[in-house]
């Protein structure tokens, strides 16, 4: 069987698993949906953290911003947002199916685009920072965003916003959001698979390995950094919009800008799976999510301890992650080989040359 066919079967199997998982195990639909979002988080974090070597702790900013932008657009298309949030709890407004679906479609698209724009603006501010300063700087921006939204009455301030009700049964609702999560994660993966086949990836890797050298070679480093972050922000913004609707209620600290849960999880998943690879984040997200759900179910009370232990083991003993470890163990599978035939011929010719010198 040739390699091409194997690949097609492999990808088809994953797609089929993605489609049939919630049908086979309907009780876990919400969990599967979150798993796809986790994969999306890991993939988008890796664009900067893995490929470009910029460890952002503030990517959650775009998740939260996307969530709020999507919500405001959804409501704002048919009602006055200020009035809606002010009447929260007192007046229950029903959205017709048409209003609901057009709102969510427009909301998600605008959330993605607006976050892309936000990344350009924030990138301009934080990309002057390097190393740990960048990590802390981005974390600061994300925390500040949460606090700002928490003080903004128009979007419900700390009290949050209740999202429009899904016009249909609970089973349909779960399936609808599962499909949104599934499609957005798959689109992210396909987009990155393409992106990493272009010159763009090499430029990001060059910035990771030695940014000063990249500048000295004339690479437009700021352009690449900003665009890379905008891509991450675009997909994260959409994922935020989906997650907000999925939970049905959003507020700034726990749901929209959860720096200590989702914000850190996206880093851990990538470290576990292997930074700077396409599959590392996917594998890391799956393993992480399974471990997290298992400990939350069977080690309740100790779940954070278990998670902390996993982090420590990962960071101390297993820094290269699963894909990095595989690359060290089987380098030839990753194309890291000496061209033997040429090498022996070359040795002869250099030996000749040196004899002449």
């Amino acid at each position: 069987m040739n390699l091409h066919l194997k690949k097609i079967i492999f990808y088809a199997a994953i797609l089929l698993a993605g489609i049939f998982a919630p049908i086979a195990f309907p009780a876990y639909t919400f969990q599967f949906a979150v798993l796809w979002l986790m994969i999306l988080f890991a993939l988008t974090w890796d664009i900067l953290g893995g490929q470009m070597g910029y460890n952002s702790l503030g990517n959650i900013l775009f998740f939260g911003a996307g969530m709020y932008i999507c919500t405001v657009v959804q409501i704002g298309m048919y009602y006055d947002v200020g009035e809606y949030t002010a009447h929260f709890g007192a007046v229950k407004i029903d959205f017709t199916p048409y209003q609901y679906f057009t709102g969510i479609a427009a909301g998600l698209v605008l959330a993605g685009i607006a976050c892309l724009g936000l990344a350009v603006v924030f990138g301009w501010i934080v990309f002057g920072l390097r190393g740990p300063y960048f990590a802390i700087g981005t974390l600061g921006v994300a925390i500040a965003a949460g606090e700002l939204v928490g003080a903004w009455d128009y979007v419900g301030a700390g009290g949050g916003i209740s999202l429009p009700n899904y016009p249909g049964g609970p089973g349909d609702r779960e399936m609808f959001f599962y499909i949104l999560c599934f499609v957005s994660a798959v689109c992210t993966f396909i987009f990155l698979k393409w992106l990493y086949s272009t010159r763009f990836q090499l430029a990001l890797n060059a910035i990771r390995d030695d940014e000063e050298k990249a500048e000295a070679m004339g690479i437009h480093t700021n352009r690449y950094k900003t665009i890379a972050w905008s891509f991450a922000a675009f997909f994260l913004g959409i994922s935020g919009g989906i997650f907000g609707n999925m939970t049905g209620f959003i507020e700034p600290l726990e749901v929209a800008f959860p720096t200590v849960t989702f914000g850190i999880f996206m880093v851990l998943m990538v470290l576990l799976g292997g930074k700077g690879t396409l599959w590392g984040p996917v594998i890391g997200a799956i393993i992480f999510h399974v471990i997290k759900e298992l400990t939350w179910t069977y080690l309740l009370g100790w779940q954070w301890v278990a998670l902390g232990a996993l982090i420590i083991i990962n960071v101390v003993y297993f820094q290269q992650g699963i894909m990095g470890w595989a690359q060290e163990k089987w380098p030839e599978l990753f194309g890291i080989t000496v061209d033997e035939a040429v090498a022996s011929a070359e040795e002869n010719s250099t030996a000749d040359k040196e004899a002449v010198i």
Binding site: T198, R199, D209, D210, E212, A216, G218, H220, E346
Partner: protein, 247 residues
């Protein structure tokens, strides 16, 4: 003779330390110019000033009759002045071919080119240049795993890949074993003659610089001490004193 780089009255100090004091010098087009001087005499500072790594305090630096002392590093690199580093800098987690490809010139790329693949002829050119420096068989190895000397050769090949007009080499033979040095001198000369790249070389190894350069400048204590052909420099009493520590 056409002067491709013209440095005039350049001053640069770091706090109280005067690294370059009233330096004036020229690099002639398609020639090899050498720059020597004891440790700490300001050679690398002068290099850094030319490529825009730090702003100069006063003076002018012109490249092809265009003032470049206010431009940024990337902009100067895209104009065609490239430098290699004393400590050797390569993209250590990428393989050699990728190191080469990303080093291809950026001055004539369009915005959307960043989302395209490298054309086949560029890969071929990369492999050809790797062959030129003797790294062809190791082209798929992670460059950080190469020996120091091989990394130096790779950095040189990357610079050639960029097709610069002027290449500033900061101690190209430091840390390279004597047999490889001969090969490197040969390759530097070929880069100059076959690819028409003007070279400006900082070098401590007198045998190398005398062999290579047609015109040599000598710096000491941040000042220009002497300028001349290799023969003149060899005879210059000031240069001999500077190296033997008479200053």
């Amino acid at each position: 003779m056409n002067k491709i780089i013209q440095v005039k009255d350049v001053n640069k100090s770091f706090g109280g330390v005067i690294a370059n004091h009233n330096i004036s010098m020229d690099v002639e087009e398609s020639k090899i110019t050498g720059l020597i001087g004891p440790n700490g005499s300001g050679k690398t500072t002068l290099f850094n000033s030319i490529v825009g790594y730090h702003p100069i305090d006063s003076g002018t630096i012109q490249f092809e009759n265009r003032e470049i002392s206010q431009l940024k590093v990337q902009k100067i690199a895209r104009l065609g002045i490239l430098r290699t580093f004393q400590q050797t800098r390569i993209y250590s987690k990428m393989n050699c071919v990728k190191n080469m490809l990303i080093s291809a010139a950026h001055h004539n790329t369009k915005w959307l080119d960043m989302f395209t693949e490298y054309p086949q002829e560029m890969t071929e050119r990369a492999e050809h240049l790797l062959e030129f420096v003797g790294l062809y068989s190791k082209r798929f190895l992670i460059s950080g795993d190469l020996s120091f000397g091989q990394q130096k050769l790779l950095e040189f090949a990357m610079a050639l890949m960029n097709e610069p007009k002027v290449l500033l080499l900061d101690e190209p033979t430091a840390g390279i074993n004597p047999t490889l040095i001969n090969g490197l001198i040969d390759r530097l000369k070929r880069a100059n003659q076959e690819f028409g790249i003007t070279l400006f070389v900082i070098e401590h190894n007198m045998r190398v610089v005398m062999n290579l350069a047609e015109s040599i400048y000598c710096l000491a204590h941040g000042e220009m001490l002497a300028h001349g052909t290799p023969e003149e420099i060899k005879q210059d009493q000031n240069v001999i004193d500077a190296y033997l520590g008479a200053h």
